[in-house]
Symmetry: D2
């Protein structure tokens, strides 16, 4: 056993590298800067590229260009930077450009408190761009998750050719924990399916068996057509309603149809529990403590920790909630993901507790909410 002391941002960088990421671009912002630092130590010695753009807009632009050229790419920022990424997230989504985007959330709105954590971007990550099509958002609980989920994020970005977010928080990103990297059970690394360079090529044509087009890099022998405008399978701009509808349907289905394959979570079932606590992110750690303390008491509770937040894993939620009289949702914001749970689990009794003041939510507070909330 070889323990390493590592903060979440370093673990994300470790996972990205293990997943084959060799291109990183970003612009410094607390608490995401140390992802950049960690990538800077890893990438150039391995022949990769790590660079800072003139601003966030340039930085994600570099990433998308490199991804179109075939690289596995990542960028990392916090809320104000996600704002500046918004336009190009939309481009990545519509033009099916794989990218992993780390959001080290901090207390907002606006510049807020740079050194305090929050989970304030949970709806932002899904909806923060025009058109409303689905993206994938994974939320690690600890340093181990930072490794594993970042690797999964790359796999999903490659598999579905879409933006995938790792939604973490200053409290995970910049806290060091021990981890035994050697004994981790790492996921197998996936790489986007390549098209036959010698066959006629349509950059946005779904393959017969799957809704994700095969990929060819820009800059190669074969011309690859890319546009940020609505386009048909051939990549040419179009305003044909049927082509547009088919393309958007495909953008939805390629992700939604496979949701079960990447519904990551942890659950703890407590015998006799009438209450199910649902949470995610760093708050899951307090929730584990709270549930353990409650187990022997008058109000035992079970726990569901979501690690896939978007698309909302409705089947998991319905199956897990089965039989509980009461659902308690805990979030480090003023009520964001609870809306999805209400939507899916209504009209059950759903209790929410949230805070977004820079403090972590303590186990005792969760115990109180379960007991009296």
């Amino acid at each position: 056993m070889a323990l390493t002391l590592m903060e979440g941002n370093e673990a994300i960088a470790w996972g990205a590298f293990a997943a084959g990421c060799r291109f990183f671009a970003g612009y410094p912002i607390t608490p995401a800067t140390t992802v950049y630092n960690a990538m800077l130590r890893r990438l150039p010695p391995a022949g990769g590229v790590c660079l800072q753009g003139e601003d966030e807009i340039a930085s994600i632009g570099f990433c998308l260009g490199a991804s179109m050229a075939g690289q596995k790419v990542m960028t990392a920022t916090s809320g104000p930077g996600i704002s500046l990424y918004s336009d190009q997230i939309s481009f990545a989504l519509g033009s099916e450009i794989p990218i992993v985007i780390v959001d080290d959330q901090r207390l907002g709105p606006s510049t807020g408190s740079a050194t305090r954590g929050a989970d304030g971007d949970i709806q932002f990550l899904q909806w923060g761009k025009s058109g409303g099509l689905p993206v994938i958002v994974l939320a690690p609980v600890d340093v181990r998750d930072c490794v594993i989920l970042t690797m999964q994020a790359f796999n999903l970005a490659e598999r579905f050719r879409c933006p995938v977010f790792v939604a973490t928080n200053k409290e995970i990103a910049m806290t060091r924990e021990t981890i035994d990297l050697e004994t981790l059970d790492l996921p197998a690394v996936e790489t986007r399916t390549l098209a036959d360079p010698d066959a006629p090529f349509q950059p946005f044509a779904a393959r017969s068996a799957a809704p994700v087009p095969a990929f060819l890099p820009i800059g190669g022998e074969r011309l690859v057509r890319q546009t940020s405008s609505t386009h048909g399978p051939d990549g040419y701009i179009t305003t044909d309603p049927e082509l547009i509808a088919a393309s958007q349907e495909r953008l939805v289905q390629k992700i939604m149809a496979s949701l079960d394959d990447f519904t990551y979570y942890e659950s703890e079932e407590t015998p006799g529990a009438q209450t199910l606590v649902i949470t995610y992110g760093v708050t899951a750690r307090a929730a584990r403590d709270a549930v353990a303390r409650l187990a022997a008491g008058a109000c035992p509770a079970s726990l569901l920790v979501l690690k896939t937040l978007w698309p909302v894993p409705d089947k998991l939620l319905q199956a897990t909630a089965e039989g509980y009289a009461r659902i308690v949702v805990i979030e480090m914001n003023l009520g964001q993901y609870v809306r999805e749970i209400e939507r899916i689990l209504a009209p059950r009794d759903i209790v929410f507790y949230g805070q977004m003041n820079g403090d972590l939510i303590r186990p005792q507070k969760i115990q109180e909410v379960v007991a009296h909330g």
Copy 2:
């Protein structure tokens, strides 16, 4: 009676001017550019300012500065521009700077189809910034609404010191309709409450009877402290959890507590109807036709047209849905606002129809959905 032929963008400009707006800044983008054009004809002759910034970021920055100096301000863009506004929307929200933002939605994602309408930004407008705090979004149905709701948008921005969106769509913004401006019943014009310039001033202190602070302009005799960081009543940056929590609670309550006062809608109750159709925006016009045609048939339906989209008017929805066996939600996107309706009205039978392909949804399609959907 004096009929004027006017497109939605011109009506928005007319309403803004009538509401006292004398400052507009924006960056050209189809289909919002004619708002700019219309303001350019009105403002300078009236001593106002109308200008184009270097880009969207500069343009909204000008607006926020002018608003902090006491002006009523507006900007107008489309989805890609809202992306670039995101960071400063967050600033306006956290620092309580009144602004009206027009979103002439077009077909996304990304640059999409510049000349085709959609209602693809409906979740984006609420969630498109860090922190998740509430904003106000109004959705006009026609040119008359463009006048009236824009005036209401200014009133709400002034009353609550917050960003207010007018969420329209290329199909309203750039379609000319006749309107009799003289017979319109215009809302009374409101102006933000001023602080006593001779009393001690705390820029973010709620007044005893209301959660909205009184305003003093920057640049005057009295120093006014503004920061995009978390701050207390005195405007100084703080990381004190209690002050932050109190401030965020106030940002939520100042809007939520008054939601009934600005829940705008239209409803048509059809005797014997088992189905309630809910929609908004330009689609409401097709829905009216559909409901009229259905009235005498086997499947009569009632209609609720929402004009206040955010905060979600849950009381209105619950009250109006009372007694209907079936809810039909129609949207010009792939399913955005229906999520809110599911959240509030579940577990009723909720049927959704949406399309986002550049075509308007036709009355016949809505009839089909109501009858067979």
Copy 3:
């Protein structure tokens, strides 16, 4: 007599306003910021516009647009800002857009010392853009010159439709002096010659008697064609060598042929002097003292203070230097304008003294140079 205590920057603003300037845009930089401040106090109350762009590039862009629309416009910056103006100075020159640009020089290179004066941009102002065509540079000596030469700068910009620089220095710009504004002999205000809006219009056609085209504003009834590319009299882009050569010849001649009309200077002839001291800017004030002190001694000297630096007034230099055995050139840099004097007055005995260390050059130093040089 009504004395006012005024710094150079305020005097420049006063002169600009008196010359009819009603549009100012700039970006803050020491020591030019107080020009902005002074314009901000004057322009809006008079119906004018004063604004800060997102950066220097946007700021001069606003000015050029306003000038094309018929306004008299000014911007003010220091060396680093002139760098960022360079591209658009070239546009103003080639597309004959009147603008007055104030350069409050500070100690360079680069950001150098923001609060120390220098005359380090004297060659930069003429050569700091592609193509090498002539511009006009005027250099005030004191607050009174700041008023008068700024007014002349506007007259010249209007008369020749070209960029005109007021090259001053932190030591004049930010030093307060008394001035009696009522007794000043102000130049008559000129305005660019307008074309007949009802006659066929060629935006870059020289009128029969003069090489400067008549002007029509953009945005009016008559279409006005503007391009930053090489163009013929009709304003269309061209690569025709004859049209290009004719256009460039005109850009040179419209200024050079009238140089005598705007060769501003002061001279003091000392009987018996063998030495002529030549200088400009704030250093002229020390030179006056030095010459006065030297008058009764063994080395009397005459003085020529240049106020028109570019185009180089060669006739004035030759005529004034006539008969002197020795020329002493004093500059607040390491030797810039002396190169022009060498070019014109060689092979006379030319002695140079310069310093660019943040200190003013003192009269005693000039005396030493004249006596022992």
Copy 4:
């Protein structure tokens, strides 16, 4: 012998690579883009970096950062891009950061004619930044010079830690010529002198025997202090006049004192000639033809082709001009470098011919000027 067909831009890239350049950043502009293309083919396979910034400002910024980290760096642009580089050229000069800047001149002013050559930036390159301190400008005549002078440019940038320009022109940059790369006599490659990393380090302290400080890269073990403000030997900002004066004197002397070592030129002495033709750049090729044709006629002329333009090689000019009754200066602009020649060689009879209309100057025109000019 192995002939290669190569345009000037490719030759510049070849020379840069041979000189050890492994970092290139630029923004596309005709006619410089193919330098970028050529570097893109060479650098990444060799472990180097070639990237496009968001704009010219970002691009040269990348270069300066890389140079401070110890890389040999190059960028390439044309007149409008040099404008945008201006601010950072000043930084490179004052902070002694080696960089080679290629200016593929095109016809100005402003965007002018993108596909037509000119030598319109000859004064701009020396004076296009605040402060007026010297830079080095080399001007190739043909593809062979593009190789050799680019290598010399790197050597000089490293030797003197300063910006060095390669001033060429569309007509050389984008014209293919044969060259035998194997038989070229390449200059030995120089690299900046490193400081002892274990000794106390002052980043701007001249070494005893030389005015150029020894270098340590930023980002290493030893802290290296860099500022764009006036600074002393220790790199701390200062406003001390003595320190500033000493620093500026050193910036001048480190280059001027060694000018003889890098005064590159070609001369052809024709027996009996009374006229000396002086020119540079692509025009030298027409001048060679003209001089050859004139040799047997009534007006034989000698030729001096300058390849070091800045600092002006005054000793070379004086020595070469010795004995000629008449100097003919030919330039592909309206008279820029002739000013320097007048300054140095006045009061000789100096005849100038220039044109800047997109056409090359033909031998016959030079013959005419020599014979009748």
